[in-house]
C-alpha cells in the first residue's frame, strides 16, 4: 500500500496541488486523470523519487519501473542491451517472444517502429524487479490498432507479474479498459477517487472532468 498524506507540491509561489490524500492499493491499477498542468506527471515524479514535496508518503517499495511516453531507450544499445542494462540476471528470450519482438533483439532503437519501441519500453518496465510501475501517458499518440495491441501486451504482462500500477491518461476508454481505480486531480485537489467497476463510472468521470 502506498499512502499519501497531505502531499503538497509547489514551484516557487505556484502551488501545483495540496492536501493530497490518496491510498494506492497493492497489485491494483490506478489511473490518474485531470486537465493538462494539474500535476499528474508531477505526482508520478514524486512517487518515483525524482522531485521533492511537502507531506508524507508511506510506501513499501524500493524499486520503481517507469514507462515514459517517449520510450527513452538508449540509442547506442540494442534492444537486448537496453533490457539487460536494467536486469542482467534474467533470460530474456521468453519475454521477447511474449512481446513478439524476438526478431528485433539485435536492432538499435532507431531501427524500430514506434510500436516496437513502445513494446521494448513496456517490457523493460516489467523485467526490472520492481513493485511499483508508473506510466506517463503510455498510449498517447498511437494509432488505434497499435494502442490496442500495446494495451493487450500490458494486460498480459501484468497478469504474469502483478505490480502496483499508477498511470496517467487523458482517455476515459483507456482508463476503463485497464484501471481498477480512477483518481481525478482538479483545482489542486483530489476531485474524484472511485473504483472503475461500477455502472455509472463513465458519467462520474465525465461530469467531474467537465463541470466548472
Amino acid at each position: 500500500m502506498i499512502e499519501l498524506k497531505n502531499v503538497k507540491k509547489q514551484y516557487d509561489d505556484n502551488v501545483v496541488f495540496e492536501n493530497l490524500n490518496i491510498n494506492f492499493e497493492n497489485k491494483q491499477i490506478t489511473a490518474i486523470m485531470g486537465e493538462s498542468g494539474c500535476g499528474k506527471t508531477t505526482l508520478l515524479n514524486i512517487l518515483a523519487g525524482l522531485t521533492d514535496f511537502d507531506g508524507t508518503i508511506k510506501k513499501d517499495y524500493d524499486n520503481v519501473s517507469f514507462v515514459f511516453n517517449d520510450n527513452r531507450l538508449i540509442p547506442n544499445l540494442t534492444v537486448e542491451q537496453n533490457l539487460k542494462i536494467v536486469n542482467n540476471n534474467i533470460d530474456l528470450t521468453p519475454f521477447l517472444k511474449f512481446a513478439e519482438i524476438e526478431n528485433v533483439r539485435n536492432y538499435y532503437p532507431k531501427q524500430l517502429s514506434s510500436g516496437m519501441a513502445h513494446r521494448v519500453s513496456l517490457l523493460r518496465a516489467f523485467i526490472y524487479p520492481s513493485d511499483l510501475l508508473l506510466m506517463d501517458e503510455p498510449f498517447r499518440n498511437l494509432d488505434v490498432v497499435l494502442k490496442l495491441k500495446l494495451i493487450n501486451l500490458f494486460k498480459n504482462l501484468w497478469e504474469k507479474d502483478k505490480k502496483t500500477v499508477i498511470f496517467v491518461s487523458h482517455s476515459i476508454e483507456d482508463v476503463l479498459n485497464i484501471a481498477d481505480n480512477v483518481v481525478i486531480i482538479k483545482n489542486k485537489k483530489i476531485a474524484l477517487s472511485e473504483k472503475c467497476k461500477q455502472k455509472n463510472i463513465k458519467k462520474l468521470i465525465t461530469n467531474c472532468l467537465t463541470k466548472e
Binding site: 525524482l50 538508449i74 526490472y128
Partner: protein, 253 residues
C-alpha cells in the same frame, strides 16, 4: 538517379572532379609563369614527391611530425576532457576557466608560436603550441556536449538504478563522442597544420616544417610544394581516419 549512383557521385566523382579542376588551374598558372622557381608544374611537384619518398631523411621528418602531432593532440584531448568534466561538475571551475579559454582563443597563433620558441626549444615548442591552440576548440566541444546530455535518458537511468559505470560508458561517453567527433577530426588536421607552422618558425630539425624551411631558404620550390602536398594529404588522411573510426567506436561504446 538511384540512391547508389547518387552516393557514388557524391563520394567519389565529385571529389575527383574538384581535384582535377585544382590541377588544371595549377597547370595553367604554372604554364603562364613558366618558371620552376616561381610555380613548378604538378608533374614536377609529383616527381619531387617521388624523390622525397625515396629519401630516408624525409621519412624520419614525416614520422617525427606525425608523432608530435599525435602527442600534442592526445595531450590536448585529455586536458580538454578533464577540464570540461570539472567545469561541468563545478560551476565555479567553469567560471574560472571561461576567461582563460577566451584569452587562449583570442591570442594570435603566431604570438603563441614565437613565445614558446623563446621560452622552450625547437623540439618542444611546436608540441606546446599545437596543444594550446587546439585546447579551446576541444574544451568547448566536450563541455557543450556534456551540457547537452539527454536529461530524459539520465532520468530514466536514475529511476532504473542503472550502475554509474554503465551510465558513464553506455550513455554519457557515446553521446559526448557522437557530438564531438567532427570537432575531434577537424582538430587533428588543425593540429598538424599548427605543428608544421611552428616547426617552420622554430626551424625544428628532422621535421616536415624543418624541411619546408630548408626548401624555402634554398629556393627549392618544387620541394616546398611537394612537402605542402604531403602535409595536405596527411591532414586529410588524419581527418578521414577519425571519421572512419567513428562507426566502430560508436559500436564499441
Amino acid at each position: 538517379m538511384n540512391k547508389k549512383t547518387k552516393k557514388i557521385l557524391e563520394n567519389v566523382l565529385y571529389p575527383i572532379c574538384v581535384i582535377v579542376i585544382i590541377f588544371l588551374i595549377w597547370l595553367i598558372f604554372a604554364e603562364i609563369t613558366n618558371s620552376e622557381f616561381i610555380l613548378p608544374t604538378p608533374f614536377q611537384t609529383f616527381q619531387e614527391i617521388g624523390n622525397l619518398f625515396s629519401s630516408g631523411t624525409f621519412w624520419i621528418a614525416f614520422c617525427n611530425t606525425l608523432l608530435r602531432t599525435l602527442l600534442a593532440f592526445l595531450s590536448s584531448f585529455v586536458i580538454a576532457g578533464l577540464l570540461a568534466l570539472l567545469a561541468f561538475k563545478f560551476k565555479a571551475i567553469e567560471k574560472i576557466l571561461s576567461p582563460f579559454i577566451s584569452i587562449i582563443r583570442a591570442t594570435p597563433t603566431i604570438a603563441v608560436i614565437l613565445l614558446f620558441i623563446i621560452w622552450t626549444n625547437a623540439n618542444i615548442a611546436p608540441i606546446l603550441v599545437s596543444t594550446l591552440v587546439v585546447l579551446p576548440l576541444l574544451y568547448t566541444a566536450i563541455f557543450s556536449s556534456l551540457k547537452n546530455l539527454d536529461k530524459d535518458l539520465l532520468q530514466m537511468c536514475k529511476i532504473y538504478k542503472i550502475k554509474n559505470k554503465d551510465i558513464i560508458f553506455k550513455v554519457c561517453i557515446p553521446q559526448v563522442w557522437a557530438s564531438t567527433y567532427l570537432t575531434v577530426s577537424s582538430s587533428l588536421a588543425l593540429n598538424l597544420k599548427l605543428m608544421v607552422a611552428a616547426e617552420v618558425l622554430a626551424n625544428t630539425t628532422k621535421s616536415l616544417g624543418g624541411l619546408m624551411q630548408g626548401a624555402k631558404i634554398y629556393f627549392e620550390m618544387s620541394e616546398l610544394l611537394a612537402l605542402t602536398v604531403v602535409t595536405v594529404v596527411l591532414a586529410l588522411a588524419l581527418e578521414y581516419f577519425v571519421n572512419l573510426l567513428n562507426r566502430p567506436i560508436r559500436r564499441w561504446l
